[in-house]
Symmetry: C2
């Protein structure tokens, strides 16, 4: 029996997120069905975390255990050949038996894209279509308040009763604009549900001039589920990388 | 009663082409339903020509007649507000009563995109994924044989019994590669069904080294429905512009 670590890229547009659900097509179920068919029986796959409906991944990570005797380099072909066009395994390798896609993860990187140009129907599933100019400088200045260790209770889902500790560390926030597309990069030790989207949604309001930096500081310090009512749409969000000790 | 000329952009990924069909979602039907609802009765819309399933448009043109008293600048908002996210009217104006989207058209421009880099699942509906390097110089050299006036019987659908004259003029073929994406531009006085896709499909074989320029000359001169068995996939094709006398 070997444990395999897989890195997978997917376009989340046509999926109800990662996590298997009744009556909805999910990324996990789609991949798991392929792995189950290869084995002839059910094999549980375990991801670094969920992604929500319409959220994309460049580098989601999952692991599974298998005793199939496929040469390491052939696994990618065997799985990708059976996957739909919007999901591709980009790396598979054998790892230590105690590797765990979720519990061994040290950091994650999420990126978010905003189009401030005119509506682009060809990119509407891949870049959030704000379609108005916003003040990048005030966004950058305000973004710094989220750096470091904070209780992010104000900036995550109401519904995290199984996550009593909502303190996280964001070590990097980079924001660049290229030809009217704003590209956010977040790296941190963990991101709770909606956390990136609520931070980006709030920063967009700052860029519109509708929120001040001090108002956002108050929202963060409130540690309250009613402090922030902004959440950027899922289609601009990408899980880019999950970092492990190697 | 006024005649309106509309320019429309659409992502063809989720449509069975332009032309209304039973039991299939089409771009024409989707737009026509909106215009019908605005009027409260059926209004026939007439395009410059069809596009096939999964083919896109940046500048398809259609016309319709209406006696609705909507200010000219309000038409776009009224229609776009009711259209799905993958179809947008980009211009609408009153034209002469004898303007006809199809019969007044003088030239058309079609573009085709080929990805010679690794498979890109985020672009698989918008750029043909060849995913191998090909010889651009031999493609450019061979493409010149299609310029000017030719009987393109070998390079269009078998099933054009209502198009006895298959002579067309291609005035421009531009081919450029940027970061591994090959971009073809075709401008001509008319393109029959599959014509651009069969020319591009043939040129790709030339780029792979599987066909010579002289073999392609023979195919063109054969004027035969069995001469060419290559047809590039629809997802790389865009109707970019329809030209009229103005």
């Amino acid at each position: 029996m070997s444990r395999y670590k897989c890195i997978v890229s997917y376009d989340g547009s046509d999926y109800h997120g990662w996590q298997s659900q009744r009556n909805h097509q999910t990324v996990q179920e789609t991949i798991n069905n392929v792995i189950d068919r290869l084995h002839g029986h059910h094999i549980k796959i375990m991801a670094s975390g969920r992604t929500d409906q319409h959220v994309h991944a460049l580098g989601q990570v999952f692991h599974f255990d298998s005793d199939m005797k496929i040469p390491e380099g052939q696994w990618i072909k065997a799985i990708n050949h059976r996957l739909p066009k919007d999901i591709r395994i980009i790396d598979i390798k054998i790892v230590a038996d105690d590797f765990h896609a979720r519990y061994s993860a040290r950091k994650k990187r999420y990126d978010y894209y905003v189009n401030t140009n005119a509506y682009d129907l060809f990119q509407c599933d891949h870049i959030f279509q704000l379609n108005q100019k916003i003040d990048l400088q005030s966004i950058k200045e305000t973004s710094s308040i989220f750096l470091g260790e904070h209780d992010f209770s104000s900036f995550c889902s109401n519904n995290l009763t199984d996550t009593p500790n909502q303190v996280r560390v964001i070590e990097t926030i980079d924001i660049e604009e290229t030809n009217g597309i704003i590209h956010f990069i977040f790296i941190g030790n963990g991101f709770m549900r909606y956390m990136v989207r609520m931070i980006v949604g709030t920063l967009i309001e700052v860029g519109k001039g509708k929120l001040t930096k001090s108002a956002v500081i108050q929202m963060l310090e409130a540690k309250s589920k009613t402090a922030c009512r902004y959440k950027a749409k899922p289609e601009g969000l990408y899980l880019v990388e999950v970092f492990y000790d190697d």
